[in-house]
């Protein structure tokens, strides 16, 4: 009996030592970062750009390996990350509001409590654009036209249940105007249809129109402060419309990470915000950076879930 207790204490002590050693050693092997999109997509570029900086801040020769698991708008990858071992050796990329909207509009094998929220890194705000020569060259004129002829203004955007869609819902609720949604497969085809005058208006993200400002009327940006990508572009708040919305990308780990590992990761991610070299690299790949870590990121996700849930209950999109 005594022997048993002895060995149990010993085992317990050993486990404690091992646990401490674990945190000190972390990371002792390569960390896998699961990206839910193909190599070369916006999320993939973010992960690959951030990886060397995270390695630097984790120190001790840490190494991050990006693994692409594309499919189902990122759902395959994020499901894999949510269900991985919570040991800090599997991280994943996370997109908002998409990942939360998927838990509402289809069956998902994860929910908002499945994750340890590390950091949101990119916040790409929405913009409203209209075709050149269409006459709708200000947000006031646009809203006026949509109110006078409900449904006559066609809106090109990427798929339903994404940030573009929620932006339009917010605009409709705010103004009472009514639009006809034309959901293209992705932003680039929507932008092209807009340039060709096949739709009247578009909801895109600032990074997607930064290179096209001469070809389109960009009416405003949905942020509190003006964006670095187009400093001359007024926000909607400046123009009297309280619209804040955007597409976000960040990093998560499975829920239940050991506390010290979590602290170490959070610390590494938090340092991205002030790293000039990182900021420059992100700007070159058209990723507007806004670092939000830990609990704040979790709150942000929860808020977006509630928004999506509310929209879904009022006007389900499929």
């Amino acid at each position: 009996m005594l022997k048993h207790i002895k060995s149990a204490t010993l085992a317990g002590a050993m486990a404690l030592v091992a646990g401490a050693a674990f945190a000190q050693d972390y990371p002792s092997k390569p960390i896998e970062v699961i990206v839910g999109y193909s190599a070369g997509g916006g999320t993939d570029v973010m992960a690959r750009t951030a990886a060397p900086f995270i390695e630097k801040y984790l120190g001790d020769g840490a190494s991050l390996v990006v693994k692409n698991m594309p499919g189902a708008s990122g759902q395959i990858g994020v499901t894999e990350a949510a269900n991985a071992d919570a040991d800090g050796y599997t991280l994943g990329t996370f997109n908002l509001p998409g990942m939360m909207a998927r838990t509402i509009d289809r069956e998902a094998a994860y929910d908002r409590d499945s994750f340890t929220y590390l950091a949101n890194v990119v916040n790409d705000p929405n913009v409203i654009v209209t075709t050149k020569g269409g006459g709708l060259d200000s947000i006031d004129k646009l809203v006026e036209e949509a109110k006078a002829n409900p449904g006559a203004v066609t809106v090109g955007m990427s798929s339903l249940g994404g940030d573009d869609h929620f932006m339009l819902i917010k605009l409709q609720e705010l103004t009472g105007a009514e639009f006809t949604i034309v959901p293209f497969k992705g932003s680039a085809p929507a932008r092209t249809a807009l340039m060709g005058g096949h739709v009247a208006m578009g909801i895109l993200n600032i990074s997607e129109v930064a290179e096209f400002q001469e070809e389109l009327n960009v009416l405003g940006v949905a942020t509190e402060e003006r964006s670095d990508f187009a400093p001359d572009l007024p926000t909607f708040q400046e123009q009297g419309y309280d619209l804040i919305n955007g597409s976000m990308r960040g990093f998560i780990a499975p829920a239940g990470l050991p506390e010290d590992v979590q602290a170490k990761l959070l610390d590494a991610f938090a340092q991205l915000e002030t790293d000039e070299e990182f900021l420059a690299a992100m700007k070159a790949t058209a990723n507007p950076v806004e670092v939000v870590t830990g609990d704040e990121f979790k709150t942000l996700t929860s808020d977006l879930y509630d928004l999506a849930k509310g929209v879904w209950e009022a006007t389900p999109w499929n």
Binding site: G40, G41, R48, K67, P189, T192, E211, F212, T285
Partner: protein, 501 residues
């Protein structure tokens, strides 16, 4: 713009950048020539790897692979009737009969010369006409693109083969497969049975490898012959300069197919296979002896191979200027550009002229290098490989099919799906159901539906939106002409015969 084009040249002919193109072309030919491996797969594997490379080295590799693979796909298409890439399906029509007649070597020479010509024409279009051609792309909204797809689907009629009922079954099957996945507008699941892997639709490469490569592999194992029918001695290769005079009558086909390929390339979504099918049909239509087509007519190989290379560089026109790639391969390449901070758009040409114009030069060099690298040497060495004992060749192809399909998305699900299509393909092959309508149906069915539904959204449910502008009406007229024309022509010939007798 043209001075910037010249300014970019010295950089491109630097050692490492030029070597990248050469390596790319060789790798591309090999990948294309291996049944099961495709250009899409090769470039998706390459993209993450290029993170650490200089932009022009990375882009040179990609340009080389793309050009090389579009020709490489012709090698197994001619020798084994397995198209190495989706765009080489039309090459099998006359290429394989030629090989059976002992003209395989000549077929491959026609293929390499035609590929190079198509590629060069396309590179020039990209270099000199990218901005104006991107304006043409803008003319095509959803309703116009819908009509382009219908036009393409109408050409299925010419691919039905001997038994129209079986041909139509094939076409319906292809179109049905194209609707599997998320609904294009609402995103709801259609026939995915809860499998997330099927939500993005079924990749053409998976279907193609299953339908086209598995049945021949089973055949290789079924009949225990020592070697395949095509032997290098019977390949009939002679030096390429000696073969050139036999091709001098092809210039009309080369010209026509180049134009078709470039045009299809600038329209987003349709891609190389449609270009090859259309150019094959047009070439046959204007041939003096259409009855020889399908029996080993070298001009058929020329038409298909010119067009599938002519849409390589031109597919990058909408990709670079508008961010909408013209083919699946161009879509993957766009990712490669993004990795190097090259954002598509009108500013791209102003902000990074050396890289963008350098990339264009690399396409041109890639196309020219095809003749040198893809000539007799490459062709002969591959023909030798096919002389392997049949069971061995079969088992090697099985391995290639598995890695080719697995590597696209990195998942076994696709491999099982491919085997399922393989079983279907084997039955179709034995019962003489034609395979080309399946391929065209898969490529164009979902594409037509998506654009029709977008057009209806824009027209708020009013179908007349499909006929509201000139571009649409021209396309409708063309489609009607293609479908009704041959029937009217045959009637008139019959009537004349009647009157004469």
């Amino acid at each position: 713009m043209y001075s910037e084009l010249l300014h970019a040249l010295p950089e491109v002919i630097g050692f490492s950048n030029f070597a990248a193109v050469i390596i790319g072309v060789i790798a591309g030919i090999v990948v294309g020539a291996m049944p099961g491996l495709s250009a899409t797969m090769a470039i998706s594997v390459l993209v993450p790897f290029t993170f650490g490379l200089e932009p022009l080295v990375a882009l040179g590799l990609m340009a080389g692979i793309y050009n090389g693979a579009m020709y490489g796909g012709a090698i197994p298409a001619v020798l084994l009737r397995i198209p190495g890439t989706p765009a080489a399906v039309a090459t099998t029509f006359d290429g394989y009969p030629m090989a059976q007649k002992g003209e395989g070597g000549f077929a491959l020479q026609v293929a390499v010369v035609s590929s190079a010509i198509g590629g060069i024409a396309s590179a020039f279009a990209l270099m000199l006409l990218a901005p104006p051609l991107s304006k043409v792309t803008l003319l095509f909204g959803p309703s116009e693109v819908f009509w382009v797809a219908v036009f393409g689907l109408a050409s299925i009629i010419f691919l039905l083969g001997g038994n129209p009922v079986k041909g139509l079954i094939s076409a319906c099957f292809g179109v049905f497969v194209s609707v599997i996945g998320a609904d294009p507008i609402y995103g709801t699941d259609r026939f995915t049975f809860g499998q997330l892997e099927m939500l993005d639709g079924i990749s053409i490469v998976i279907l193609l490898v299953g339908l086209y490569a598995l049945p021949p592999v089973i055949d290789l194992l079924e009949t225990p012959l020592k070697t395949d029918g095509v032997e290098s001695s019977k390949l009939g290769t002679e030096p390429i300069w000696k073969a050139m005079p036999r091709m001098k009558g092809f210039w009309k086909t080369w010209l026509r197919s180049s134009v078709i390929g470039i045009w299809i390339g600038i329209l987003p979504g349709a891609g190389g296979s449609m270009a090859a099918f259309m150019s094959y049909n047009e070439a046959r239509r204007s041939s003096k002896h259409p009855e020889r087509w399908g029996e080993g007519e070298p001009e058929g190989v020329a038409a298909s191979e010119t067009a599938n290379n002519a849409d390589t560089a031109s597919a990058l026109i909408p990709a670079l200027t508008l961010g909408i790639p013209g083919t699946a391969v161009a879509a993957v390449m766009l990712g490669g550009l993004l990795v190097h901070g090259l954002q598509p758009g009108p500013m791209l040409f102003r902000e990074n002229p050396d890289v963008v114009f350098g990339f264009m030069w690399q396409f041109l060099f890639g196309a020219i290098l095809l003749i040198l690298l893809g000539g007799s040497l490459a062709t002969n060495s591959f023909a030798r490989l096919l002389n392997l004992p049949r069971p061995l060749l079969g088992s090697v192809i099985i391995v290639l099919m598995l890695i080719g399909v697995y590597s696209i998305h990195g998942r076994m699900f696709d491999v099982y799906l491919m085997l399922g299509f393989g079983a279907v393909g084997w039955v179709m092959d034995k019962l003489k159901f034609p395979l080309p309508p399946v391929v065209l149906g898969l490529i164009l069915g979902g594409f037509a539906e998506e654009n029709l539904r977008l057009a209806l959204r824009i027209g708020r449910g009013d179908w007349s939106v499909l006929f509201q502008n000139t571009t649409s009406l021209i396309l409708v007229a063309l489609t009607v002409a293609v479908v009704v024309g041959p029937i009217v022509k045959r009637r008139m010939i019959d009537r004349r015969k009647h009157a004469e007798s």
